[in-house]
Amino acid sequence: MSETPSITRDDVAHLARLARIDVPPEQLDHYAEQLQVILGAVAQVSEVASDDVPAMSHPLPLVNVFREDVVRPTLSNAEALSGAPSVESERFRVPRILDEE
């Protein structure tokens, strides 16, 4: 991949939406520019990433790390809710959800 695709303000708006960050419209161009520059600098990875090089999945050659199916201490309800912005009936109260997942 020798050319970086250009990043437009629409691209930034799309990324912001995917990442759930309300980027103000006046900052879209600014981010677009910066992302473009950074992507230009990092795109070089594809130069050396040939097919015969395996992707590194992990710095450690570990496999099969498991734990026994045995109960461990939980947090109490109070601890679990301790940082919550809004609580009701021992549960986390969250704003209106529009769509079924």
Binding site: D69, V70, L75, V94
Partner: protein
């Protein structure tokens, strides 16, 4: 907002005459492990909200997952039971999307490296052409974690639309799930709904036999999403599919598939295009309604889970697990067909009712196989259906059923009484003998039922009654005979005669 906009449908026979259905079934199994998939929190049902949570399943900053060994073991056993290949090396992956029931806003799942893949399950469907066998291809079975539970508040219906806010309980978040995905299921034709149901039923039996889950559809430990598409002919490309959720019983699977086929046919007939979307099944009204528009381009930005290391099940371990599998269902069924001297059709009825284990256990408890089958696929299946529970959840055991059958065999009960005994056992009145005793059903020479039978016979043969009153005592034989017939020979004939004459005010 009304959820039921009436949609046009094409009569089913018409649909299958002109379209070729293709199905895809996605089943999620909640494993019955003691702890969650990635942490040591307990998984018991019904605990107070947010009491079975820890930093990991709450997704608190800094927390890390550690894989439950039994979760992996169960996944492999399920794969083996479904004739799958077991991966030599695979990883977990993050499926990234935002939703309040997801503590990390990504689900730790598997993407392009599922632990099990490329299997199959043969299912039998009873049809008027006999028992037909369909081979359902299994694309993959992989490990993932469940989400928390949201309950929507402030609206009228308790459903999302119109709710002001929601309350979230993360007790369920992180419970191990195995997702089993079929390959596109083609060639089912008009039997598509039955095949779908039979597949889920068969899968459920297998899972139950493995002991990996309690597979209760109504409780959500077995969830099914049905994908349906239509095309004009098998030679054509696959049509656009819809995914139907909220299919909470075997009955719903069949009905939902059938409905979707008829609905999609109507859309296509009208020159429209089927929208690729998620639909919601309504058991009460028998329709699906539109949910979220589902796009295949949903960008989950999958990448290998960096907090977990790869899973590389050794072939030795896989073979050890294979040895723990219960008898292959097809082999077992063939064996029982031979032992019991029944037809494949009859076996299919038993399997599709989810009754095979129960029937086998009832036979082991001493009952005749025919009677055992009769009870479980007949009266008991009817009751289970009515109460919308699983057969295995009824408060009656194979031993109980065998006992009832024994009492019938002894002549202590007739069929009608036996049903009453069953009813009593289900109502929690005790064992069959307890019910017989407490309800006084054993005393077959009890005058009550005899008198009732006598009156019935008299009413049915008024001319004979007249004769007896007229002094022709010998004519009483016909009434006695009728009563003996009515009570299937379990009444004392002498007593019947005496009661009859007393009834008519005639002396011997």
């Amino acid at each position: 907002m009304s959820t039921h906009t009436a949609e046009t449908v094409v009569p089913y026979d018409d649909v299958v005459a002109r379209f070729d259905p293709v199905l895809g079934l996605e089943v999620h199994v909640e494993l019955g492990t003691a702890t969650k998939m990635f942490c040591g929190c307990p998984t018991e049902f019904g605990a107070p909200p947010n009491t079975q949570v820890c930093p990991t399943c709450l997704g608190l900053p800094g927390s890390l997952p550690v894989v439950n060994a039994i979760g992996v073991e169960s996944a492999i056993r399920i794969g083996l039971a479904l004739n799958c290949q077991i991966a030599e090396w695979c990883r977990f992956a993050r499926k990234n999307y935002f939703y309040p029931d997801m503590p990390k806003n990504f689900q730790t799942s598997q993407y392009d490296e599922p632990i099990c893949f490329d299997g199959h399950l043969d299912v039998d469907v009873e049809t008027d052409e006999g028992v037909l066998t369909f081979r359902v291809g299994i694309e993959r079975a992989h490990m993932e974690e469940d989400t928390g539970k949201t309950s929507h508040q402030g609206g009228a219906t308790g459903r999302i639309h119109g709710a002001d806010y929601s309350l979230v309980d993360y007790n369920r978040a992180g419970i191990p799930l195995i997702e089993i995905v079929t390959k596109p299921l083609e060639g089912t034709g008009k039997y598509a709904p039955e095949v779908a149901k039979a597949y889920v039923a068969a899968l459920r039996e297998i899972l139950r036999g493995l002991g990996v889950s309690d597979v209760k559809m109504e409780q959500g430990s077995l969830r099914c999403d049905a994908n349906v598409s239509l095309r004009l002919s098998p030679a054509d490309r696959l049509g656009t599919r819809t995914e139907t959720k909220n299919v909470n019983s075997l009955r719903s699977v069949e009905r939902a598939v059938r409905y979707e086929m008829t609905r999609q046919a109507a859309v296509l007939d009208a020159g429209g295009r089927v929208v690729q979307e998620t639909r919601h099944w309504h058991e009460d009204t028998g329709v699906t309604t539109s949910g979220r528009e589902k796009s295949d381009a949903e960008d989950y930005r999958y990448f290998p889970e960096p907090d977990l290391v790869p899973i590389a099940p050794s072939r030795e371990w896989v073979e050890q697990l294979r040895a723990t599998l219960p008898e292959n269902p097809a082999v077992r069924q063939a064996r029982l067909i031979a032992d019991w001297g029944i037809t494949p059709f009859e076996m299919a009825s038993v399997v599709n009712a989810g009754a095979l284990d129960l029937v086998e256990q009832t036979v082991a408890a001493g009952a005749d196989q025919s009677a055992a089958r009769k009870w479980w696929t007949g009266e008991l299946a009817r009751i289970a259906n009515e109460r919308e529970v699983e057969l295995a959840d009824l408060a009656i055991t194979p031993v109980d059923v065998a006992r009832v059958e024994a009492l019938v065999g002894e002549g202590a009960l007739n069929d009608k009484l036996a049903r009453q005994v069953i009813e009593g056992v289900l109502a929690g009145e005790g064992s069959p003998d307890d019910v017989v005793a407490s309800r006084g059903l054993a005393v077959v020479s009890d005058d009550g039922p005899l008198l009732a039978a006598i009156d019935e016979a008299l009413a049915a043969q008024p001319d004979v009654a007249e004769k007896i009153r007229g002094g022709k005592v010998a004519a009483a034989g016909a009434i006695v005979g009728a009563v003996m017939k009515a009570t299937r020979g379990q009444a004392d004939a002498g007593r019947v005669r005496a009661l009859l004459l007393e009834r008519l005010g005639v002396s011997e």
